[in-house]
Amino acid sequence: MSGRYVGQSVLRNEDRRLLTGHALFVDDVRLEGMLHAAFVRSDHAHAEIRSIDVSAALEKPGVVAVYTAEDLGDYWRPGPLLVPPPPIEGIVFNQATQVPLAKGRVRHAGEAVVMVVAESRYLAEDAAAEIFVDAEPLEAVVDLERALEPDATVIHPQLGTNLAAHVVQRHGDYDDAKARAAHVVTRRFHYDRGIGGAIENRAVVARWDEQAQELTVWDTTQAPIPIRNGLAGMLGLMQSQVRVIAPFVGGGFGPKIMMFYPEEVLVPWVAMQLGRPVKWCEDRQENFFATTQERAQVHDAEMAVDADGRILGVRDTFIHDCGAYDPYGLTVPINSQCTLLGPYDVPSYEGEFRAVFTNRTTVTPVRGAGRQHGVFVMERLLDLAARLVGIDAAEIRRRNYLVQDDFPHDHKILFQDFQPLVYDSGNYRPALETALELIGWTGWAEEKRRAADEGRRLGIGVVSYVEGTGIGPYEGARVTVEPNGRVRVATGLGTQGQGHYTAFAQIVAEALDVDVADVLVTTGDTREFNWGTGTFASRGAVVAGSACHAAAQQVREKAVGVAARLLNVPESEVELAAGCARVRGEPERSLTLGELAMRANPLRGGVTPGTEPGLECTAYFGPDRGSTASGVHAVVVEVDAETAMAKFLRYVVVHDCGKLINPMLVEGQVEGGVAHGIGNAFFEQLVYDEQGQLMNASFADYLLPTSLDVPRVGMAHRETPAPMNALGLKGVGEAGCIPTGAAFAQALEDALDDYELEVREIPLSPNRLFELLRDAPRRTSPALSETHA
């Protein structure tokens, strides 16, 4: 459905408030009598706490309360397991979720140990500095393989092991495939940690209203309804007594969905204990230690191909780093395991992983959520196999893509939503050909040679990916036409800049034929909408958007029915246009939607039995499975072999997220994702030392890409509609960052093809690339460029 509003690059409804500085973010909330919290955090990555001395802090001016784990009494308990282990045969899962304040033992540097509440943040931090935590350091388990060694210190003694999970998924017979293969490629690959990097840190404000017996919490969460429900349970309140508001949120990228962060558990409780509002705002340094991270895995992978480069099978065994706790279950490693398969026909697959606890900050999804690791492994294996077969990177992908007749395609393993990994739709080869054309694949050898004549090293890379998006369980929406003719939409998820205020308005405007600017969308306020899950897994537009569509269609039917009755014509004679319902062919016989809304809610007379007053409907959408987005990324880099600095010269994304609601917003999502991916590939890495200390916990030392690092992205949209929802939508929020590392690696090897260089790790940095080049022997003859057409 490309319509008057859906499918158009409509400008955003939310921009004015954001541009003028009048949008409410959590740190902007100011309440009478509000107190401020600060946390004492562990200096050690792993230690036994012997004693905590808070006496000096309690003497400090302005200090109202100080809490250790002991002071929390029965309220102290480990957090919930967000995602239980999927029903995979033989699965091992050991649960150890985070705690509000460390009791007895600290398990990562930056873990919260003491909470201080004072009249101002300055005073709270002053007092926190006076608190002495006496702790006996234990071995910090940092290395993933070390975690599994029998003599490694066990992080959660009650488990008796650092193994958090062991999962094997397979289909077909890989050993047989290997026996029949013309070539087998075997390699080890490393992926390391980075941050979500939202420019707004986390924040929580809570107020207990004694008279109304009501708790209001402002929270930078991506999932306000589950937070509301969880808080009500923990605090012994009715869900209806708790209102959670995620107002404007300054970027999410995954870590803001973690439930429950210690601060989210503590701030509301303390506000109730003290009878005063309490605010906590994370600072950037805390964010590096206390907000969840992602991406450390070590893969041992092999691919068996026939003489033509067709995949016969893949085996991948990896270790996944959970960090100190595993509240998010196995979403990230299962995404890695599943997404590895990509857009390819893989007749046999053996995927096995062990998740391990380490003394580092807890891991939960960060934009991509494990998918990039799988894509990196698969795409690298394909590149290596192509070299053995003697074909180029594009050709080996062409030979292995699933084709149109293959859909729906069942990979016969389980995805993160516990449903079979079934691709609903896709059309991969045309995307590749478009990307090759846009990046300049044909004629690349010539371009590269010309550059070489000028002393410049250029390299090209092209890779593919598939992303499972738009998973269930469900979202809902309520659409209301108000008597002034404007339309209100409320949905339960939170929004962090994706443009939901506009995209959902477009969907509703399309159904009711009103201006997009007249549709006011509310997200992230549990008072406005009572049901929902949250914004994650590239699902907001797909799942909540589909609910908005369904609710708007029902309102439309209702409006037509009311108009037909009032205008005394059959419903089939009524059409909606320009904010009015009118008789087809007699446009002068019309009523505005506002009038209809008023007449549908009379003060006298009867509302017909079996009908509901007003022009309002609520609808839900719960897909059986997600919808499969896909794409191809291509990149040209220039590398200085002396300094090991690489520059991204051109970047092309051909992506398919089904039907586009708003191409401008989709471009923005993809461009931002690519920037995040470029950061992960070459600039960003969390550097931990052997003691589990994070060495670069500031924006001065951890390098987010700047305007000088990120190129423009050349883009082409393909629209293979999703069969799973009425609008044909697929998610796009994470797509931009998923295959970036793989594309960069291939391009680096091309640019440096006179070195025996294989890029088997991400992130790289100029420093790391320098080391790799220093250790790489020079080739006697160029190897790679000849395989390009």
Partner: protein
């Protein structure tokens, strides 16, 4: 050191005085003493640029200054760019038209960095724009649409005719070939 000092500044054209602790950061002064919460705090160590305001017309990181350092000086914040219910500043309008913002948290810092930049450099090229914003971090956009917004604003400020604006719409072909980043 005295426990409190008086700070008198002009903020968005209005005189205002407060008695504050000498250690109070200018960013906290603006946000929490004056209630102008459009200025955002992203890192508190002077890297992200979200807290950028104008001090006597020059962009400064308000998290790296104390409020007392603004005593006797003029401050301008994002709230001063456009009247409450009036038309947006041409730069704000261009950010909207070019989709130069997503979550909008870093946006006020970009705007306050760019207002003096465009005053000094009314006809910047893309490279100059990228350099001008290289001290402001944005995690959402990948910067391309911010660059577009600045070029669009510059062109509008120069009084270009509406029809000419098309010439700076993002054009994949030359951008791909050129590569300024």
């Amino acid at each position: 050191m005295p426990s409190s000092v008086e700070v008198s500044t002009t903020v968005n054209g209005e005189a205002c005085s407060r008695t504050v602790e000498p250690r109070l950061l200018l960013s906290d002064f603006i946000r929490h003493e004056l209630g102008l919460t459009g200025t955002h705090v992203g890192c508190e160590h002077g890297v992200c640029g979200a807290c950028t305001v104008l001090l006597d017309g020059q962009p400064v990181r308000s998290c790296l200054l104390f409020a007392v350092q603004a005593d006797g000086h003029a401050l301008e914040t994002v709230e001063g760019l456009a009247p409450a219910d009036g038309p947006l500043h041409v730069l704000q309008e261009a950010f909207r038209d070019a989709h130069g913002l997503q979550c909008g948290f870093c946006t006020p810092g970009f705007l306050m960095t760019l207002v003096p930049f465009l005053a000094e450099n009314p006809a910047p090229g893309e490279d100059e724009v990228r350099l001008a914003i290289s001290g402001n971090l944005c995690r959402c956009t990948g910067y391309a649409k911010i660059v577009d917004a600045v070029l669009l604003a510059a062109e509008r400020m120069r009084g270009a005719k509406a029809g000419d604006l098309l010439s700076i719409e993002p054009d994949p072909a030359p951008a791909l070939a050129g590569g300024t980043a």
